[in-house]
Amino acid sequence: MIAYALAFGFTALGLALALNLWRLLKGPGVGDRILALDTMVINAIGMIVLAGIASREGTAFEAAMLLALVGFVGTVAYAKFMLRGDIIE
């Protein structure tokens, strides 16, 4: 049963990533692109978690944690650059 749930989860997250990519390419403003990148990171974390369940090993979650950290720092850095023209003042 968990295999069906994982198949559904991978499909849904892949579709979600495709939708985010559409918004990233189309998005009329910079804010839309930052938001699309942030959401792509969130969906990638979800995929890593599902891959960790599928492989039945607990080693994937360090990767999920690192991606969460890097994604947040990247979002804030991009937003800061758009606000101030500089990242570290």
Binding site: L13, P28, G29, I42, N43, I53, L69, V76, M82
Partner: protein
């Protein structure tokens, strides 16, 4: 499935389906909603509820099915709960500044000022006496 119905697997599967479905709904909202301030709503719900449900499903799976206790998922979940509002706030500030300089025309236009004698906080210079105000201090050496 040959294993049949077991409650732990059913619980983990339900949480995984719920979480990935919410993530898909959040991304669909990102595509479908008309302006950025509305688009911010979709992915923030997806990141808290969707990923939260997937991570709780992962904890339940590893504890109840595999017999291993893991807490990394909770760490990821707590970190996302803390950082998602901050990232959304930064994006909203970028959007307000883009609107102010007319670089990002939205269907609703720029938002109205919050009061008759005040402006959005991100537009204003810091007031004297508040922690963000460095007006009294000497200018730092610019090394650039």
């Amino acid at each position: 499935m040959t294993a049949g119905f077991s409650f732990p697997e059913l619980l983990a599967s339900a949480l995984i389906v719920l979480g990935s479905g919410l993530a898909l709904i959040g991304s669909w909202g990102l595509v479908r909603l008309p302006s950025l301030m509305e688009r911010l709503h979709g992915p923030t719900k997806a990141s808290t509820l969707g990923l939260g449900a997937m991570l709780v499903g992962s904890v339940a799976f590893f504890q109840l099915v595999e017999g291993k206790w893991t807490t990394h998922e909770m760490l990821v979940s707590v970190f996302l709960f803390v950082t998602a509002p901050i990232a959304a706030n930064m994006i909203a500030k970028v959007h307000l500044h883009q609107l102010r300089f007319g670089k990002e025309p939205g269907p609703a236009g720029p938002p109205a000022a919050p009061g008759p004698d005040s402006q959005w906080a991100t537009y204003e210079a810091p007031r004297p006496g508040t922690p963000g105000c460095f007006a009294d201090e000497p200018a730092p050496d610019r090394r650039d």
